[in-house]
């Protein structure tokens, strides 16, 4: 079992852990790309199509597409499906709005290590949104 620690800027307080879903090309914010009531990625062409965001640590480099991104994530949250936390390579306004609206822990703006390279889908990731420490465990 391998353990890796990387550090970013604490963006939203709290501690969370879960299985990583790494979205190299982000997730479009357009209606239907994330299921409003099932929290599943439906975006055609996405490598993660069919994956539910429930209790995951969402590892994402940037936001793209419609400004509806935060609203679709929020809708899924009210339907009982929400990521446990966020690892954001570099913060932007789309992701910032979604982090604020969902209110789950987030670490962003990594200067030394690139979370998109370090973290693999399926890794167990623990994030501390108060200190910015991200702990990755790989079996």
């Amino acid at each position: 079992m391998e353990k890796i620690i990387i550090k970013g800027r604490p963006a939203m307080g709290g501690i969370a852990e879960g299985e990583a879903v790494v979205c190299y090309d982000s997730i479009a914010g357009n209606s239907g790309a994330i299921g409003d009531t099932d929290g599943v990625i439906h975006e055609k062409g996405s490598a993660n199509r069919g994956i539910s965001l429930k209790n995951t640590i969402l590892v994402i480099p940037y936001g793209k597409g419609s400004t509806g991104f935060s609203a679709h994530m929020k809708s899924a949250k009210f339907s009982g499906i929400c990521p446990a936390g966020w690892v954001i390579k570099r913060m932007d306004s789309r992701l910032g709005a979604a982090v604020t609206s969902l209110g789950v822990p987030a670490v962003a703006d990594f200067e030394e290590d690139d979370p998109m390279e370090v973290i693999k889908t399926g890794d167990w990731v623990k994030i501390d949104g108060n200190t910015g420490v991200v702990e990755i465990t790989r079996n």
């Binding site: 800027r9 963006a11 209606s31």
Partner: protein, 425 residues
């Protein structure tokens, strides 16, 4: 720690009511998440509200409760009160046409719920405009003016063409900004962050609205994360409709919030000005091969019978509707084929007065307002066995909602398909 003015601190303390207090709490939290140090005044807003489908997660109709939970992050129900008086607020695209729900297969119940929600926010100061191209009907933030908008193509338009300042953000953040009149002073609200850093040279066709749609889609595919594109050279001079189409597809395949066009947009009179004197991170050519690849991604292969044609993503201008009417004059849409043409209701009213609506209706088409298939969601297009879309954003996004074949083409090719009932590759 976000630095607040005395006025903002008083609002945060609740002196201007709980509605504004909660909205400002959201904005202050948003500023912390972004890493912003202070807020700025917002004077224009367009908001994607009403009975939008992202609210389908609620099984009640109490709009105060829904609004509090969804937009204000408040478990406590707060009565919807006045939006910021100094911010001009209007609605973005809506979940339904303002008069006609039958033609688009939506229920009367849903239509009335949408109307009721929009009427409540109208009373609170948000005018019902229902446009994703609000600049056609007078919503134009000027150079340096801070805005919020929930239409991603309008984020790019307002930053790039008008020189106004705004980020994409998100719907809840924009609603809260319009209520308290403040948004984080961060990102494109600050001049130093507005310079372009990825240069695109165009080596593919750039004559028509369709060409510019594909150029935007292709640029978005190639733009590195967080890149700020500059269209530098090799293009035929665009008009506002071509830029609208380019920005709409650019903001579909990327997170772009600004796009300088050298010699056209005000912060890019020269390439050097657009770059702010720095070297670009990348210089990218858009070739015919790239263009063809994008078309292949947007348009299903081959020919086939179709039953739904939707034109007008983003919402069309009056002159485009005139062109459509002239093209359709004396022609008939094939039986059992639906032809939907989308704009806002102000332009629809002008089309009525000018006789364009009548010509379109006589051909068997419908001139509709406020919405589009992607926003209306599956209920509006579930019946379709094969559809034709103009607008790369629409053709791209509808694929997340349907398994039916989707064909994509320029407006006239879409109209031809409606007349023949068939898409010819």
């Amino acid at each position: 720690m976000v630095k607040l003015t005395e006025y903002e601190q008083r609002m945060l303390n609740g002196e201007m009511g709980e509605f504004k207090q909660k909205a400002l709490q959201f904005i202050v939290k948003y500023a912390e998440v972004l890493g912003a140090e202070e807020l700025c005044r917002v004077s224009r807003a367009t908001l994607f509200i009403g009975a939008q489908h992202y609210l389908d997660c609620f099984n009640n109709d109490d709009y105060d409760e829904i609004f509090s939970k969804f937009y204000l992050n408040s478990d406590k129900k707060i009565k919807i009160a006045e939006f910021d008086k100094e911010c001009i607020c209007q609605t973005c695209a809506a979940a339904c046409d303002i008069k006609d729900h039958e033609s688009v297969h939506l229920s009367k119940e849903f239509f009335e719920k949408n109307k009721r929600f929009l009427d409540i926010t109208k009373e609170a100061g948000v005018s019902i405009v229902n446009s994703c191209t609000p600049y056609y009907v007078g919503w134009i933030p000027l150079m340096g003016e801070h805005f919020v908008t929930t239409e991603s193509s309008n984020v790019v338009m307002s930053n790039s063409v008008f020189g106004a300042r705004g980020n994409a953000g998100g719907i809840e953040a924009s609603v809260c900004a319009a209520i308290c009149g403040r948004t984080p002073l961060w990102g494109l609200h600050i001049k130093e962050n507005r310079y372009g850093d990825v240069v695109f040279n165009i080596k593919c066709p750039s004559k028509t609205v369709y060409d510019w749609d594909i150029i935007g889609y292709t640029m978005g595919r190639m733009l590195p994360p967080h890149g700020k594109p500059i269209i530098n050279e090799g293009f035929e001079r665009p008009d506002i409709h071509k830029l609208r189409q380019c920005f709409s597809s650019l903001a579909t395949t990327s997170g772009a919030e600004i796009c300088h066009v050298v010699g056209i947009t005000p912060e890019a009179r020269t390439l050097e000005e657009a770059l702010g004197g720095k070297e670009p991170l990348e210089v990218i050519e858009i070739t015919q091969k790239d263009y063809d690849e994008s078309v292949a991604m947007l348009c299903d292969e081959g020919s086939g019978d179709i039953d739904l044609v939707s034109v007008g993503c983003p919402h069309l201008s009056l002159e485009e509707i005139k062109d459509i009417a002239m093209y359709l004059k004396g022609k008939k849409v094939k039986e059992n084929v639906e032809l939907w043409i989308w704009t806002d209701y102000a332009i629809q009213a002008m089309a009525d007065v000018n006789g364009y609506t009548d010509i379109i209706e006589k051909s068997g088409g419908k001139l509709l307002n406020s919405s589009c298939p992607v926003v209306m969601r599956e209920e509006s297009h579930r019946h379709s066995k094969a559809m034709v879309m103009n607008g790369a954003k629409q053709a791209h996004s509808i694929r997340s909602q349907t398994k039916a074949p989707v064909y994509f083409g320029d407006i006239y090719k879409c109209l031809d398909a409606a007349i023949k009932g068939r898409w010819e590759a």
